[in-house]
């Protein structure tokens, strides 16, 4: 059987960090965007599609990105899938933002 990159139950792991931490402004904006895009009546995809897109990340990305960075990557996949923006247009916008010093 194939085990998904996200499906970690039973694998060796270090201690779980039980500490609380604040959400950054970036985290909050990503959360807000996801709630709008996955709205039950006015949204474009389900939380299930979000999970599927996150689980499809390459292993290095999955473990290298933060929780909300994974969400951003999944949303990039899904807005293109749903035709909200073309893949080329999205890449151009991201390149323009990066040129202005924004984060991809």
């Amino acid at each position: 059987m194939t085990r998904g990159v996200h499906d970690l139950g039973g694998l060796p792991a270090g201690p779980v960090d039980l500490g609380e931490h604040d959400r950054t402004f970036f985290d909050q904006r990503v959360d807000a965007m996801m709630r709008l895009l996955s709205h039950p009546t006015d949204g474009y995809f389900t939380v299930d599609a979000m999970r599927r897109a996150i689980e499809a990340l390459p292993r290095d990305d999955y473990f290298g990105l933060t929780y909300y960075e994974r969400w951003v990557r999944a949303m990039r996949t899904l807005v293109v899938e749903r035709g909200l923006i073309g893949a080329d247009e999205l890449e151009r916008k991201l390149a323009a933002l990066a040129a202005r010093g924004g984060r991809p």
Binding site: M1, T2, R3, G4, D7, G9, G10, F45, T46, D48, A49, R51, R52, E55, E81, R82
Partner: protein
């Protein structure tokens, strides 16, 4: 989809190969458990994940697993429970 199982029924989680999205944890596939309760019937997440409607809707159950059945060693006072959709369960004696 009509519920096939009731509290107390013995079940086994299917050891299916699946390359697409599912909510059934890898470590429980092929393991025997007991139905604790039914949660109701919900759109199938394996379909929702690909922008489909999730029909037929699938009954979801809380299933209890003996620790030793899952991890192969004993642990006192420890039961593992997980929510598993009906199409991932088969009846066992």
């Amino acid at each position: 989809m009509t519920p096939r199982f009731a509290a107390g029924d013995n079940v086994r989680v299917r050891a299916r190969e699946i390359a697409t999205h599912c909510r059934t944890p890898y470590y429980l596939r092929g393991k025997r458990g007991v139905i604790v309760r039914g949660h109701g019937t919900f759109p199938n997440p394996e379909e929702l994940a690909y922008h489909q409607l999730g029909v037929p809707h699938q009954p979801l159950y809380q299933v209890a697993f003996d620790y030793a059945e899952v991890w192969g060693k004993r642990e006192r006072n420890t039961v593992i429970t997980a929510d598993i959709f009906q199409h991932w369960l088969e009846a066992v004696d």
